[in-house]
Point group: C2
Chain length 301, copies 2
């Protein structure tokens, strides 16, 4: 990944290094390597896939943080907090280009196509979010949003790994669904951590979604139970809340049982992912993928 | 090209239509279709290539105009003049994604690779320009800049058209050089039109490069002749000039013969492009490509 900035403007190396060394769990490359490893894929091709997926993810984060005006990601200053907007737009574009270069290095027209489609899905999801009124409390909308934002890239990762392992159609489809399920679970847990995580380890302020008027799974459950909470209505009208109200809402959501219900949904997605692995070759990578899926719903970062 | 926004957020259709119907000469798609037509390529694949190249170009313009804060392009309001920066960044990303999708539709790993490399070259050129001091008067820097900005995409267009026509290595290389030469000529003429064009047909204010402290071919020649022009030094120190000084400089550059010298360079590039066509099949498309190359140095838009 670092080498992708070689032979270009030297500041691009500096900034790529900053981005790649500012944390991140590398869960997408892990899924690529384990899924392909389980299915007997060529390690060299899988490493290229893993790098391409992580760089695509990195590029979307750079533009996301610029758009959200985010100052911190993973507890470290975002690019846009340090650079001009122009440099940030172009750095994101450059990383997109290098991700596309790696995707082309895989030498599979099918995988290349999946990359392009997934990027369109991710960006379309962001545009839809941008143009959708704040405070939309709707499960269908939430599911579409987290699919576009997170699950689509996990789906690409696991299905591309299966394609590169010359798996049959049925296995490729199961691998795709595996990625879909763990992607959905991963994002729900991420949205839960926004309410219960320690801000210093999560790396961003508490309830950052709520502050933006973004309704996530815990909030949907809370609204089911307390449809008349006046502070919640203020959030959903897109009005900025003061810190005391945010704290009260976070405490109310934590105590309501909404977190546990959302976690139950995440567990169901993880169970769905484990079902997809049932017929896959029984080897070390298979067991590691199972552990990874279970880890998603056990992490308290 | 319009169909590329189907099945996504409806505003993306509206905005793509706005972008595609706001003028533009479609010279890149023309080069794709004529080069491939001359070499006997499959028209269906060439149409996809032509659309992919034009969309890639369109995406780079969307981000460029945002970065430059440009209000007008081709005499029509730019996207960023009407939309938020966030929507503009994402629209550019979406068009990149759809251009990549079309590039993947071509089903050639080699062409896909050329697309990714060219996008990296274009973005790297913009980053280099952003981080380079204004007023750098240096022919090498100028040539690198117009290669990255313009000639690299023409080079991709003509070489990909030759690859898709199953041309031999030598023909592909000649096609690449043809694209390089007309791309360089095209940009030099564009830079000349910034000084002598009618702003209402060029679609942007007179001397827009000079106003940004960007030194182009006519300015390089002018500086050769009048190295001590104090207004020119002010430009090169990146100081904003008043309208009267801009007008004086434009008149001085027009009268100096610098325009004619720059046009002579553009003609040499066009001659270079015609040389590359010498051994190509003698047919209608061949003659149309020759006319197109000559048109570049005869246009007074």
């Amino acid at each position: 990944m670092l080498a992708q900035a070689d032979h270009y403007h030297p500041d691009l190396s500096v900034v790529l290094k900053h981005l790649l060394f500012s944390g991140g769990k590398r869960i997408r490359p892990t899924v690529a390597l384990l899924t392909g490893g389980m299915l007997g894929g060529d390690p060299e091709q899988l490493v290229i896939l893993a790098a391409a997926v992580e760089l695509l993810h990195t590029a979307t984060l750079v533009h996301d943080d610029l758009i959200d005006g985010a100052i911190l990601r993973r507890g470290i200053a975002t690019l846009n907090a340090q650079w001009s907007p122009a440099a940030t737009v172009l750095t994101g574009d450059f990383i997109f280009a290098r991700a596309a270069g790696l995707a082309a290095d895989i030498k599979s027209v099918t995988v290349m196509h999946l990359f392009a489609e997934t990027l369109a899905t991710i960006v379309n999801g962001e545009i839809t979010q941008l143009f959708t009124a704040r405070g939309l409390a709707n499960l269908e909308n939430y599911n579409q949003r987290i699919y576009a934002k997170t699950a689509s890239l996990f789906e690409l990762t696991s299905s591309a790994a299966a394609i590169l392992s010359s798996a049959d159609e049925r296995t490729i489809e199961q691998a795709r669904q595996f990625g879909y399920y763990i992607g959905m679970a991963f994002q729900i847990v991420d949205d839960i951590l926004d309410f219960i995580g320690d801000p210093s380890t999560v790396g961003k302020p508490l309830a950052s979604d709520l502050r933006q008027g973004l309704v996530t799974m815990p909030v949907l459950y809370y609204l089911d139970m307390f449809p008349d909470d006046p502070d919640m209505h203020t959030v959903m009208q897109g009005v900025n809340l003061d810190e005391a109200t945010i704290k009260r809402l976070v405490a109310a959501i934590r105590e309501s049982g909404a977190i546990q219900q959302a976690m139950q949904d995440a567990r169901q997605f993880v169970d769905g992912s484990l079902d997809q692995l049932a017929d896959m070759p029984d080897n070390e990578e298979h067991r590691a993928l199972e552990s990874l899926a279970r880890f998603i719903v056990s992490r308290r970062l």
